[in-house]
Amino acid sequence: MTAQATAGEAVPPIVLEIEAADRGHRTRFRIWFLLTWVVVLGALGTFLLAKVGVNVGFLQEWLPFIIGGVWVTLFISVVSIFFAVILAVFGALGRLSANPFFNGLASLYVSVVRGTPLIVQILFIFLALPAAGIVVPPLPTGIIALSFNYGAYLTEVFRAGIQAVPGGQVEAARALGLPERAVMRRIILPQAIRIVIPAVGNDFIAMTKDSALVYVVGVQELLWRAQAAGRPTGQSFQTIIVAALMYWGLTMVLSAFQARLEKRMAAGDRNR
């Protein structure tokens, strides 16, 4: 916020002083903010290193194996968010449907999935379903559980997104004579999707972390590999820290993408 002086009009000194004070305040804030991170992380790191230390030889051997799990984690998350979004679109249409069957079905889905823990859903598919003769391998188990779970949360997000499209849009589309399907597909959904993109991004980031839960059924993702390497060798300290740092780095990268996407959407021509 710089002073916009009218042409030819002198800016009084106090205005410049306020600006300088503002700048100084912001700079001091940044320095202290950064310092807090460096000091706290440094203290924590030093303490742990002094107490346990980095097992260089062990990590040299196992690090590539553990880090390879990042790709599995990303793969599971990407595939699952894809199916979750598809489920959510149909779920939202169901939740808004005038048809009691579709509406009831969608509401039941949301209620059951949101009312039970993700870990229970994973174990239900992997351990309970075989009793009914349905055997699902680990990787599909993880993907199905995550898709259904996030699909339910995203159903509510999409429902809100569709409801946030102004009523005038529907009226204008109907007034043009568009068939109801086209009103939904061409007018409402494209606008609703723009509204929900930030929320879907947040859920995707959350999912990369929740995907760690599928290690219990033996999907060889990041956490499973950390456990597999650390447990038998008694080096869990090394491997869990590595996994945590990987998850943290992943979310920071994804959050940066997310922030850029949102900024672009806010500035874009297409927004109202």
Binding site: Q169, E171, A172, R174, L176, R194
Partner: protein, 294 residues
């Protein structure tokens, strides 16, 4: 809103009750306009329209007939029912009773929503031939101007894309916005948006245009450009029904003016007569309030 008690007439049209062969009701004020070709029959006829919102009686048996190439202005206070009447014509509102005929396609009120698919198809036909321009423009923000214009013709009428684009460009020229062809609506001023909305309606090549307070959401400095386009359309012989508070426009462009209050047409006539020399005291009160507010 006060509950009025003198609407015995609604008993005749209450849902579930059938009325034996009602005598056809005609708009006693309908007269072909100056531009109407000789012998033409009405293009819009709304007969005995009734509308309830809950227990609130908004339209109390309005009958309106419009001939080709006429411009009709509906005036009245906010809440008098004029917008509701307009929105009943293309079934954005479901009338509680009454019949709508647009360009020979007839649909009766169906307040309980038991419509057949054939009837729903008829409503789509009515909407196609009676294009509405909204107070809030309602352009599609995710589409460029040109895509806003061709969406209807392609999806509703199955017009080939190239042809729809050619028609759209012709009407963008008409409203003076050809150069905004590839802009998104967010980049346009309110007046430009409304002119695009008018072009969008025209690209459907409708039989009648319905304007729902088209300048009420505009900055006062932008009202003129929209009214100019509308006046041009009126003088070229577009059939138009305009809900408006712009008395200067009504006087200049309308063939007939309908003054509506509490869901009833109180006074109808030539614009000069209704606006300059209202006979009904309610019209006079409304006009003096409207014109003296400046």
């Amino acid at each position: 809103m006060n509950e009025s008690t003198n609407d015995a007439s609604i008993a005749d049209i209450a849902p579930g009750m059938t009325v034996d062969a009602p005598a056809p009701v005609h708009d006693p004020f309908a007269t072909p306009g100056a531009l109407t070709p000789a012998g033409a029959s009405t293009i819009v006829s709304a007969t005995n329209l009734e509308k309830y919102y809950g227990h609130n009686h908004v339209l109390k048996g309005c009958t309106l007939e419009v001939y080709p190439r006429e411009t009709i202005c509906l005036i009245g206070r906010s809440g008098s029912g004029k917008s509701t009447l307009l929105r009943c014509i293309n079934f954005l509102e479901e009338p509680t009773a009454g019949t709508i005929v647009v360009d020979g396609v007839e649909v009766k009120a169906d307040p309980l929503h038991h419509r057949s698919s054939a009837d729903r198809e008829r409503i789509r036909k009515i909407r196609t031939s009676a294009q509405m321009v909204f107070q809030e423009f309602n352009l599609f923000p995710h589409m460029k101007v040109i895509d806003n214009l061709i969406e209807g013709p392609i999806k509703t009428k199955g017009v080939p894309r190239e042809q729809a684009i050619a028609t759209a460009e012709k009407f963008l020229d008409k409203v003076g916005l050809r150069e905004k062809r590839d802009e998104y609506p967010a980049r346009l001023s309110g007046g430009q948006k409304q002119r695009v909305a008018i072009a969008r309606a025209l690209t459907m090549e409708p039989k009648v245009l319905l304007f729902d307070e088209p300048t009420s959401a505009l900055d006062p400095t932008l009202v003129g450009e929209v009214l100019k386009v509308m006046a041009e359309l009126a003088h070229e012989g577009s059939t138009m029904i305009v809900v408006t508070h712009e008395m200067a426009f009504a006087r200049e462009a309308a063939d007939r003016v309908y003054f509506i209050e509490d869901g009833v047409f109180v006074e109808v006539g030539l614009p000069d007569q209704v606006i300059e020399a209202p006979r009904d005291p309610r019209t006079a009160t409304f006009l003096s309030r409207l014109l003296n507010k400046v």
